[in-house]
Amino acid sequence: MSLLRICTSTASVSRRSAVQVIPQLSRGVTTEAAPTVVRKDEEKSGLGDIAVQPTRDVLVADVISGAPRELHHRSVRIYQPTRNTMQSGSGKSERWRIDFDTLAGAGRWENPLMGWASSGDYMQGTRMTFKSKEDAMHFAEKQGWDYYVQHATVKRIPPKNYAENYVYKPNTLRIMRTK
């Protein structure tokens, strides 16, 4: 039971935390690109607790693709979709998705006549699916999108036992024992 409690606590913690990932890249699109920081002196002095990732060579796909300039610096979310709660299967929950954050000005309005939900943002309904988190991150880097990665939720299968229904429990009355 204590193990179960630990599992639930970690699950709730990881659900709350969305870690901002700062990519270290060399995107050679413009001349005003920030120079890559050399941290060799830190390593020598013993301060380098942070693992220095080698700079990767990332193709500037946004220049070639002909995407509009407003699209170059969108912030996107990389996450693993949760299981569909209406179905028991865990299908499609292993893949990673990219979707676009809502605009700051919220280009959304309601149609005054029919009440349709409308949006001025042409990327609001777009989402992309990838096999792994790294694939999604690589794609976002190539497109020049600012991305953040949400931790995958820790999946927990609650122990279910028919005999548990008849076990005497003095303190709490729990109606849903399997939750």
């Binding site: 407003e70 969108r74 309005w109 943002d121 990327m123």
Partner: protein, 141 residues
């Protein structure tokens, strides 16, 4: 107008370095520049060759700061293909006037400017919601 399909065709190439890609870009720009009167002629455009040159210059200026060698190669190839399609008369007039020559920057007009013009005024404007004021994809960074 009969054209030879292989006319102005170019192979995919990889530049050896920045000097070579610069040379190729200049060559491409000169080809575009010199063919401006011909473009106006074969498509019977109502614009002057100077305007065509200006638009093409804008296209080149947009990619001036690209330093990625692979991206430059792709851009050069795409522009070469575009040049071939234009000069062989494989395009319609609208392709030339719209995609090739029309300015790509959207004018950032205020609400009142658009209101006076009477363009883009619809029901939402009158109830105080101006959806065109929101530039899509500007996520407030």
């Amino acid at each position: 107008m009969t054209t030879i399909p292989a006319r102005l065709a170019s192979l995919t190439r990889t530049s050896g370095g920045p000097a070579e890609s610069r040379k190729r870009a200049l060559k491409l720009y000169r080809d575009w520049y010199r063919s401006a009167p011909e473009i106006c002629g074969i498509y019977a455009l109502s614009v002057s060759p100077a305007y065509v040159r200006h638009s093409i210059r804008q296209r080149f200026e947009k990619n001036r700061n690209v330093t990625d060698q692979r991206a430059i190669d792709v851009l050069l190839l795409k522009s070469r293909q575009d040049y071939q399609e234009t000069m062989n008369c494989w395009k319609q007039i609208d392709h030339v006037m719209g995609i090739l020559l029309q300015t790509q920057e959207r004018p950032n007009k205020t609400f009142l400017e658009r209101f006076y013009e009477g363009l883009g005024v619809d029901d939402n404007v009158f109830i105080g919601k101006d959806e065109k004021a929101v530039i899509p994809a500007a996520s407030g960074i």
